[in-house]
Amino acid sequence: MKREVVILVAEDDDGHARLIEKNLARAGLTNPVERFDNGQAVLDFLFRAPAGRQRHADVPYLLLLDIRMPKVDGIEVLRRIKQDPELRKMPVSMLSTADDPREVERCHALGCSHYLVKPVDYVKFAEIVRQLGLFVTLVQVPQINGTLSPSHDPHRG
């Protein structure tokens, strides 16, 4: 059975998180959204820390990841995700308030799918999320059936 993509939003600013949700909904993306307000919380979820929420094995996720966050910042979260053989397939789109070329380069080198600068153009934003959602659905389904080579990673050359 095809599961709906869950959009994870790691964002410490409540306003930003709310704007993301509203704009996704307005663009017709009705996927469930799970919000985390710091980097550690989203890592706990993804790496299945004993307490609190945990990710499910058969649910496809995509992550919208803010860079400047308390406890663990977005770049560190991205680094740990991309080091994990299973999690690294999950699309991650970075959200940042500045388009510092060094930061952009660093995130791309670590394997992020997109780098979006806030204040975002929400039309473009929704389009990117839609594409990532589509992508994650395509990748995730064969993976559940065990036909996808585990080394396959479309984000690396």
Partner: protein, 425 residues
């Protein structure tokens, strides 16, 4: 001849001969006196030079034993000459040179490999009271018939070193301040933009909500009641000002960030074919130039030495400014020329535009300064960035302008030849 007569004769002869000898010797002595006084004279001169020299002059023999010690050296070290003559020169050095000096001399005498002789260097001197001071020391070797002698000329450089230390400390603190400033700008532009996202995002939400309300109210909104006016005029107007204010802060912050990045960007200076660089600048602006009916005269340009990307940006900016501040009554004419001047290359971008009044001229390079914020777009950063970028590359930017007639911006850069000289001293 009797024996007595013979004796008398001999005596006479002896006497004469003595006289002769005496005469001869007095002549010789007179001669010697002349040379002697000349010798004494030149010796006195040399001694006077040594005695009055500002530099300390110390001579040692091949074993390192001090043979002479001039007054300047006495003042420097606090020893009297008579205390030092006959002692090993290593007394004047701190450890570990003090213990190793005899070895140095022996090594030099054996191998001829000089560490300091004929070279000179900065070393530490040790005063009689044990305190140390920095000095420049040069040592020359004198070969004599009966051996060798070394002359050391010393200059106390305490004051110069203190100056250097102060300069270095100042440079360090400036570098720290600069770094601090960059961090502040970086953090500010990141963190200040965060609330801005909310201001912009929720203003748009407000505008949308307002739109929904107006649509729902329908005809009632057209009736001109107070709530209807609020929804159709007052709230949208307020939202408009909030959004344009936020957009302006946003533009200023990204400008600040861009400026701070410039200080960190790595430069790749190389020989630049300025003719080709300008042609590519003009090519990129072709559409804009055509639209305004602008004419560009590009003269042959000398090569320069700089970072191609940043210099391209500088000239794009100057041409862009020439178009932006064109005169309303005539088509823009831009002339780009260049010349070599005292090892530097100087380029001129001349326009026939509005010109800049004298009192505004010094301010055009200030950050966020704009001549006419209502008439033109931009953040007021172009010339600030150009100036900073050129200064980092050993260049300069300045202008001459006559209001109503036009402006000429000059850009100087190192010439490739000058850089080649610097790299092979």
């Amino acid at each position: 001849m009797t024996k007595a007569a013979l004796i008398a004769r001999l005596k006479e002869l002896e006497k004469n001969s003595i006289n002769l000898c005496e005469a001869h010797q007095s002549v010789l002595a007179a001669e010697r006196n002349v040379t002697g006084s000349a010798l004494r004279d030149s010796e006195e001169r040399l001694r006077a030079i040594v005695e009055t020299a500002v530099e300390g002059i110390v001579t040692i023999d091949a074993r390192g034993i001090i043979e002479s010690f001039n007054p300047a050296a006495e003042r420097m070290f606090g020893y009297a000459a008579h205390e030092m003559i006959g002692r090993n020169v290593s007394v004047l050095m701190p450890s570990p040179e003090r213990e190793r000096h005899d070895g140095f001399i022996q090594n030099y005498l054996r191998t001829g490999q000089a560490r300091i002789i004929g070279i000179g260097r900065e070393v530490q001197g040790r005063r009689k009271d044990g305190s140390l001071f920095p000095m420049d020391l040069s040592v020359s070797e004198v070969r004599l018939a009966d051996g060798r002698m070394f002359t050391g000329i010393l200059r106390d450089i305490t004051a110069r070193k203190e100056g250097e230390d102060r300069l270095a400390a100042m440079a360090r603190s400036l570098a720290e301040k600069n770094k601090e400033l960059e961090t502040i700008v970086y953090v500010a532009s990141h963190d200040l933009r965060s609330p801005l996202v909310n201001i912009q995002g929720f203003s748009q939400e407000l505008a949308r909500a307002c739109e929904t309300l107006r649509a729902t109210l329908g005809d009632a909104a057209a009736e001109g009641t107070a709530p209807a006016r609020a929804i159709s005029e007052e709230i949208p107007e307020a939202v408009h000002y909030i959004l344009s204010g936020a957009a302006k802060i946003d533009a200023l912050l990204s400008g600040l960030l861009r400026f701070s990045r410039l200080g960190r960007a790595a430069l790749k200076p190389e020989r630049l074919d300025m003719g080709a660089l300008l042609r590519s600048v003009l090519h990129a602006m072709e559409f804009q130039l055509q639209q305004l009916g602008a004419r560009v005269e590009l003269e042959p340009l000398p090569d320069a030495f700089g970072d191609s990307t940043q210099i391209n940006q500088v000239f794009s900016n100057l041409v862009d400014n020439a178009l932006k501040y064109r005169h309303p009554d005539r088509a823009p004419v831009i002339r780009v020329s260049g010349r070599t001047e005292a090892g530097q290359v100087v380029f001129a971008v001349e326009d026939n535009g509005l010109g800049i009044p004298k009192e505004h001229q010094p301010r055009v390079f200030e950050i966020f300064h704009r001549l006419d914020p209502t008439a033109t777009e931009g953040e007021g950063l172009g010339l600030t960035i150009a100036q900073r970028s050129l200064e980092r590359q050993g260049g300069r930017i300045w202008l001459e302008s006559a209001p109503g007639r036009g402006s000429t911006f000059f850009v100087s850069l190192p010439s490739p030849e000058q850089m080649a000289h610097r790299q092979q001293p």
